[in-house]
């Protein structure tokens, strides 16, 4: 199959470029990325005790905070994706384009993911610091794996945010819903929460519930281990949420 001839693909790329452009021509992306970098720095050095640990690793001082920062930061990036189109009426332009709905959904989503990827890449000074402090003996393969895991996890949070954004024309509602769902899906993996569940449904069920959590699947990645079931988990979560987004967008045609 010639991909270039696939009509939806051109539409998707056009949507992607426009969305990315609107992130960089309005201050939003800069503000988000700056706040993210500030928050991650604060946690790494103040809470994570990066220097005090005297270890050439980023797992506990850096990556372990990602789920918690992402669940607030990323819904702010994704909240406008569809809500703003519905509010401004521009959704009518998009839905009267001869483009398949998946192309619209994917184009917008990938633009948001790109913003998240840029934010992650901009944490590179930490990686350099770890390497300099350890005379380049840091486990860079593990760090790279953890970054990929973090990017996948970011994709999952953004997909949740995209789905919530398609439900309402109010960005703030989309934000709150996305934070709520992201929090639930993450916190299910906390020992505190699974202990709570095991109290009345038994340890086995509590364990099963925690396996559905984002935290559980990020755990291996942040330690630098590639777990295929976790990659599968994140990709399925993304596909599920984007499918839901497409359904919600298409439901507008019904009136």
């Amino acid at each position: 199959m010639n991909l270039k001839k696939q009509p939806g693909l051109k539409s998707m790329l056009a949507i992607y470029r426009r969305e990315l452009l609107s992130y960089v021509t309005t201050p939003t992306a800069y503000v988000f990325v700056a706040v993210f970098l500030f928050a991650i720095g604060l946690f790494t050095f103040q809470v994570g005790g990066f220097f005090e640990r005297r270890q050439a690793e980023l797992t506990y001082s850096f990556f372990s905070f990602h789920p918690w920062i992402f669940m607030v930061f990323l819904p702010a990036v994704s909240m406008r994706l569809w809500a703003e189109e519905a509010r401004s009426g521009a959704i009518e332009l998009l839905l009267t384009l001869p483009a398949p709905t998946w192309a619209l959904v994917l184009g917008k989503y990938l633009a948001a993911w790109t913003v998240a990827a840029v934010a992650l890449v901009l944490t590179f000074p930490l990686w350099i610091t770890v390497n300099v402090l350890s005379n380049w003996h840091a486990d860079n393969a593990a760090i790279f794996t953890a970054y990929i895991g973090s990017l996948l996890m970011a994709g999952a949070y953004l997909a949740i945010g995209s789905a919530m954004s398609a439900l309402t024309p109010a960005q703030i509602v989309a934000f709150v819903l996305a934070v709520l769902i992201s929090f639930l899906l993450t916190a299910l993996g906390l020992p505190l929460v699974s202990d709570f569940f095991s109290g009345f449904v038994g340890g086995g069920v509590a364990e099963a519930i925690s396996r559905f959590s984002i935290l559980y699947h990020f755990d291996a990645a942040q330690r630098g281990v590639v777990e295929f079931r976790s990659v599968f988990y994140f990709l399925s979560l993304i596909a599920l949420c984007l499918g839901f987004t497409a359904l919600a967008v298409d439901a507008r045609r019904g009136g």
Partner: protein, 240 residues
């Protein structure tokens, strides 16, 4: 036949917005949709443009059923939504490039199409200014240019002159007349004088139904004037 609409119906919850609208349209016709607010004009146009799905009935653009092959039909329709929503942070040039490429044009094709549409809509020097800084009249022209990009034979324009000053209105009307020479157009409007000035046919819609479909001249002769026809044919909620 450019457009064939049959038995179109659409409800929102309990409210019936469009209740069995049917008509057809040929090249060279400029049809004016007339009717009070909430009569079903916008909903009808949205169904023709493939934005809303009808509950019942059929829209055929060049014999292509919009419900069956939405995208193929949409490739042949130019549509200006009510209020002409745009992306304010972009310039018309960027915006039109985006629409052209999202419609599946190549980069070269898009550049060419944007130049032509911008010229047709008389965008002039505004093409490189952020849309947010443009006057209402120019913003409407940007919306029109976006509807013209793929050179469609069928144009659906929802209130193209609404909220414009007399000069801007005149310019848009001239454009509509020019476009109507070798295309088919549907415009909705509240201005009866506009229908007399540009439309070859008037379709009066009330309560989701077509209550009259004739030339503006014939309607005016039958009822005394177009305004009298409008008042007599539509339910006139406002009447004291």
């Amino acid at each position: 036949m450019l457009l064939q609409v049959d038995g179109l119906r659409k409800s929102f919850g309990r409210r019936v917005a469009v209740d069995g609208v049917g008509f057809s349209l040929d090249v060279g016709e400029i049809v004016g949709f007339l009717g009070p607010n909430g009569a079903g004009k916008t909903t009808t146009m949205r169904m023709i443009a493939g934005y809303l799905e009808p509950d019942d009935g059929e829209v055929k653009v060049f014999n292509i059923d919009v419900a069956q092959e939405r995208r193929r039909a949409q490739e042949r329709v130019g549509y200006l939504p009510e209020g002409a929503p745009l992306y304010g942070e972009m310039t018309p040039w960027m915006f039109l490039r985006f629409v052209a490429e999202a419609r599946g044009m190549t980069r070269e094709g898009a550049r060419h199409a944007v130049r032509r549409a911008a010229q047709d809509a008389r965008l002039g020097d505004t093409i490189d200014q952020p849309i947010d800084t443009l006057s209402k009249g120019y913003r409407r022209r940007v919306g029109l240019a976006a509807a013209l990009l793929h050179d469609p034979l069928l144009l659906i324009l929802d209130e193209p002159t609404d909220g414009l000053d007399p000069n801007q209105r005149g310019a848009v009307r001239d454009l509509i007349k020019r476009l109507g020479e070798d295309r088919g157009l549907i415009i909705s409007t509240h201005s009866l004088e506009e229908v007399e000035a540009v439309c070859t046919r008037a379709i009066v819609i009330d309560n989701g139904r077509v209550v009259a479909d004739d030339t503006p001249k014939a309607l005016a002769e039958k009822h005394g004037s177009l305004e009298a026809a409008f008042r007599k044919l539509t339910r006139g909620e406002e009447r004291v």
